[in-house]
Symmetry: C2
Subunit: 377 residues, 2 copies
């Protein structure tokens, strides 16, 4: 199942299937040839989770196709999503003799993808980039959109550039080896996609809780494809986030703040986003944009999946509020929130965007009341 992304200046395909890694060398060879890339050197960037599982397989497969392959293994985790990690990639690229026609390959979750994409965008002012996302979160979210970058000491993803890969290989077999917490983590962005532009997806999730729990392989391939299509349609409409792409930030305004307050140790990204979504839904509820029943559907679904609906520590509304102003979308002291509203079925994509609300000014009072609601809920 392939999803083609057509952007104004870059087009690429997200290949989604089980067992893609078994023939990854051949696939990458075909891809580089079809795109007329004279790549001979590949630098694989993995982390301490993915390297033991997949590095040897991917490396051997590439070597068999005649590529010269080197690798760098970074420590796993959001706390290592730093400039220092990018420097390790740059230095390894230099030591391995990568030139402007070479390829950097991300083998891991969202952190590895973002770091490798940034390194590829900036090494020699840009080399080829290819991604093999190995977590559910990165397959349904980070693999599409071209956002790359890393965290500063006091804020998430504050440094970055837009840079598109030449291709993405989402092998859903890799999801079977994910630890439970990491697997569930991926569902926050999936629920988000359902809330912002696909009511059918919401119902589908509600009806398939068993398959979610069992990691049914056909179900997962379908789910990843569906979500890649949702995100691709938003990104294709607004590659550089000058407008409606901001809708994808539902749950992220508070989510990023929670991650940062917890030093990226307390919450996984999806967990923080789940709590952020519940607060955004609570604001929508208080504004009358959605009903009590809509709100309950969201919290019930998150509960069934195993995602948090209220914070592990706190609530500390004042601290949270202040931290949201570090958000990249903050401008001149105002933070803009994405707030879900009741949607009708059907309509064009544009209709659906228009019905979901982005660019909302939220006052502290309103925020406080919403946090109060989820504390009780």
């Amino acid at each position: 199942m392939d999803v083609a992304l057509k952007l104004p200046k870059h087009s690429y395909t997200v290949y989604i299937d089980t067992n893609l890694l078994e023939s990854i060398g051949e696939r990458i060879k075909d891809l580089t040839q079809s795109r007329n890339c004279l790549t001979s050197k590949v630098l694989i960037v993995a982390d301490s989770n993915t390297a033991p599982l997949y590095l040897a397989q991917v490396k051997d497969s590439l070597l068999k196709q005649g590529f010269k392959v080197s690798d760098v293994i970074l420590p796993a985790g959001e706390i290592f999503k730093t400039a220092s990690s990018v420097e390790l990639i740059w230095e390894k690229a230099l030591d391995s003799g990568l030139d402007r026609k070479s390829l950097m390959l991300a083998l891991g979750g969202g952190v590895i993808g973002d770091l490798t994409g940034f390194a590829a965008a900036t090494y020699l002012r840009g080399v080829k980039f290819l991604s093999i996302p190995t977590t559910l979160l990165s397959q349904v979210d980070a693999s599409v959109g071209g956002k790359t970058g890393f965290n500063l000491r006091s804020g998430k993803n504050l440094v970055g550039v837009f840079y598109q890969p030449i291709g993405v290989f989402a092998d859903t077999s890799t999801l079977l080896s994910l630890p439970e917490r990491e697997y569930i983590n991926g569902y926050a962005e999936i629920v988000k996609h359902a809330l912002i532009c696909d009511n059918d997806l919401l119902e589908f999730l509600e009806r398939n809780l068993e398959k979610i729990k069992n990691r049914d392989s056909r179900f997962l391939a379908w789910l990843v494809e569906k979500n890649v299509r949702v995100k691709a349609s938003v990104v294709a409409a607004d590659e550089k986030e000058t407008g409606m792409r901001a809708i994808l930030n539902l749950g992220h305004t508070l989510g990023h703040a929670l991650e940062e307050i917890g030093d990226y140790k307390v919450y996984y990204h999806g967990e923080a986003v789940a709590i952020g979504m519940v607060v955004a839904c609570a604001i929508s509820l208080n504004r009358g944009l959605i009903t009590e029943r809509d709100f309950a559907r969201v919290t019930d679904l998150l509960k069934e999946i195993g995602l948090p609906r209220k914070p592990i520590v706190g609530p500390e509304p004042k601290l949270w509020w202040e931290k949201t102003f570090r958000d990249k979308k903050a401008s001149e002291g105002v933070v803009y929130w994405v707030l879900p509203r009741k949607k009708e079925r059907g309509g064009t994509l544009q209709d659906r965007f228009d019905r979901a609300l982005y660019g909302n000014k939220v006052e502290y009072n309103e925020f406080y009341q919403a946090v109060d609601l989820i504390k009780e809920g």
Copy 2:
């Protein structure tokens, strides 16, 4: 004297005059308003050379126009053109509350311009960037072209992106306070411009050695404008260096290697480029692309200006040769050289590019002979 750069997606003006700094706040206010930028916060990036001379003046001038101004002062010099310096800019931007509508302002030479441009391109995935080059080298060269970045431990400018400023203010009054060696350093790129696409400029330099020595202010403003026009015409034709922009690398293949071998302490950039140009000319001479007289004109002019024509240390042809393969333009083990050839007067810009040769494979033997020639010369 303003030079307008029209690039496919970004246009901006290089303002060239004496005493521009006196009214810099007003000028920047006008510029941001005319470009519809709602900038209110400005981060000035200066270095330990420029801060004592100009920071207070620029800061006061901006404050008077209602901007909120913060600053960061980096240690001066090519050895500080590193990822760590960029991190200082990012962190200061964050601490000063810069958001996506804010402006980063480079106040200094090429190093400050390149670091600040990179920081602006990547902070929050891109904020506004404006440049006030204060050295001759940066006014005639780095101010135009949108190349930003920094050095890795073992190679110059190996990390970077293309990013265009919203405007450049080249105040030629700042050139009067430059130390002699730094002032002369700027002439290497000027001679390079003359060699690759402007015979008239070569003659003009030969006839105006007195004004060069005296730093005649009318002459300097004319000279900067002329050189900005030359570079702008090349950049406009090939913004991302997919083709003929590579012509601007005359002298840089060996020049960068020399700088690196000397740990960025032995040679200033222009000095290394001057030696690189002489070696390139020697290869051209041995190939019969230029005459003995052409070669002598170049070396005589460099001598009169005060630029080196042979290395301070060495020659060490084998070491130099190996280091040139670290060049960004190296690809699959081949380094491409720009070699001057005899030009006729007139013709279109394209004609003149066609007559200057870029993309030349040079063998070690040929390189060795050329180095041998300059050793004697």
